[in-house]
Amino acid sequence: MLFKRILFDKIMGAWMVIALGTILLLPFVIGVGLYIKSAPLFQHQDIWHLIGTSEWLPHEGKFGFWPFIASSIYVTLIAFIFAAPVCLLSAVYLTQFSSPRLMRVMHPVIDILAGLPSVIYGVWGILVIVPFVSNILAPAFNTTSSGYSIFAGGIVLAVMCVPYILNMLIEVFNTVPIGLKEASLSLGATFWESVKHVVIKKSYPGIISAFGLGIAKAFGETIAVMMVVGNMVQTKFNPFEGGYPLPALIANNYGEMLSIPLYDSALMFAALLLFVIILIINLVFRYFIYKTGER
């Protein structure tokens, strides 16, 4: 009887380790799979040549990924510039200044925003943001634009990231012990000074990881961006022109994969690039969190 119980215990323990191991292995397996699939491309071209050049003519065997990488970074950067301050300020207000009632109203709003399928953001982008960029924003900057642009992609992405970043920031600020703030207040600091020097300072690692998560999500977003970004292969750094981010490249062309030689490898390489870049973003933010935690 005892033997049976010990055995059972051991087996249950093993199951959990296997489950954990699978999760740990997954990124590795995905990475290796993508590499194997994209390997034929490396036999024809040097990897730095692939990343560094900007000619994209699959029929002639020219695969330059730079326009796609640049567009991805550019769109994500614009989204981050819009989303980060808005999220930080509203999270501070919601957790430190507002009434609990407002907080109760905000939670479902954030959940709804986070739960909307991205195709809805895409349609909304075409109906609202694209005309806005074309009719109002571009004339304000004294240029013309069709509206299908990196700028429109950035705005749509920013709106999509807000619920994620905001939700995490609220959680982070809520974990700061009230005692700390009270101590600061009792020493004569004003409310804003306590928020600035105690609450925000204490939550640094959390804020950084919230932003990191938001950026990684923005970088990989596909459908909504693809619908408004214009899908033009070019490297002019004009936000009112179209761009062509990596996820859009894969989604647009996976159908044509079989009819052009090396095209499937090229698309797998695009996926690998996306994978590696998101890995790098995560590592960089991990490092920041580690550094700020140390202090």
Binding site: W56, L57, P58, H59, I126, P131, S134, T144, S146, Y148, M226, M227, G230, N231, M232, G242, Y244, A248, N252, N253, Y254, G255, E256, M257, L258, S259, I260, P261
Partner: protein
């Protein structure tokens, strides 16, 4: 003991479903691919089921590229395909039959300030080429030789599709050579062109015209192609007012091919399923009578007979 019975029962049930589904599978025809052919194939499937209720259809869109990829990988029985079949694809063992013809036509917004001039003079193939392939035209004034300038905005398709490939072929290029802002999907491109008075795009005929009324869809206008290049639209080049006129021009060969093109069903090698072969045979015979009312141009009888030979 009890557990064993349950396990045996499950295995038996599994075996039975395998047998049943194998029979069912023989009677199911799965099709995916080009949006251009999708409406017609759906109509055909409905009509075919009236005569053959035992056959099941599984039809999905996704674009010509997807149709070819799915057919070659064996994910579907038949792929719908809407552009010329490349040599690479033929060497992979593609088997195909042509079913009908439609066309890709250049479109602009009904609010285009030069609409009247465009309708009188049209645009030649070379001018389209300088807009779409060379990218040397950035203003409507460059083409129309007017004094007031309006920046020309070029739109194309972003997804791998037959329409863009056929349009590029008309201009002597590939889809990757087409300049312009890439919009996803045929309806999306139509929408973008309608909303931008200075825009130019292209659509499958079935997305530019409304089958029910036979007129152009609201807000969209068609640019007449100046086929003989004499700088005006002659009466015989002016057939864009109604859907019927365009279809007739395609059928008579007045409208060039490309941008008119055959629409195909493709498969990896000749299909082995009898149900699939029967269906294709039906589409080439009785099915042809639904082609016109669905808004397509029928193939001529010689071509059809040629494809029928392939079925034997």
């Amino acid at each position: 003991m009890k557990r064993k019975t349950i396990i045996f029962g499950l295995v038996a049930a599994l075996l039975m479903t395998v047998c049943v589904s194998k029979k069912q599978k023989e009677q199911t025809i799965s099709i995916s691919g080009a949006f251009a052919l999708y409406p017609l194939v759906v109509t055909w499937a409905e009509e075919y089921k009236k005569e053959h209720p035992e056959i099941r259809f599984n039809i999905s869109g996704g674009g010509a590229g997807k149709g070819m990829a799915d057919a070659l990988s064996g994910a579907v029985d038949l792929g719908m395909f809407s552009r010329e079949i490349h040599q690479e694809e033929k060497s992979k063992g593609v088997w195909w039959v042509g079913l009908t013809i439609d066309a890709v036509i250049p479109t602009i917004s009904a609010n285009n300030p030069y609409l009247e001039i465009l309708k009188q003079r049209g645009i030649t193939r070379d001018e389209f080429k300088s807009i779409y392939i060379d990218g040397s035209v950035s203003d409507w004034a460059d083409i129309l030789k007017t004094s007031n300038k309006t920046a020309l905005k070029v739109y194309t398709r972003s997804d791998a599709c037959g329409a863009a490939e056929t349009w590029a072929q008309f201009l002597g290029g590939k889809q990757e050579n087409l300049k312009g802002i890439g919009i996803f999907g045929d309806p999306g491109l139509a929408e973008a062109v309608v909303k931008d008075p200075a825009g130019i795009g292209f659509n499958n005929t079935i997305y530019a015209y409304d089958i029910n009324t036979g007129k152009k869809r609201p807000g969209i206008e068609v640019i007449p192609i100046d086929l003989n290049g004499n700088g005006t639209i002659d009466p015989e080049e002016d057939f864009y007012e109604s859907f019927e006129g365009v279809l007739k021009a395609i059928a008579d060969g007045v409208f060039p091919s490309p941008p008119a093109r055959e629409l195909y069903l493709v498969a990896k090698g000749k299909p082995e399923k009898q149900a699939v072969l029967d269906f294709i045979k039906w589409t080439l015979t009785e099915g042809q009578k639904f082609v016109k009312e669905a808004g397509y141009v029928p193939l001529d009888q010689n071509t059809i007979n040629g494809y029928k030979e392939k079925l034997k």
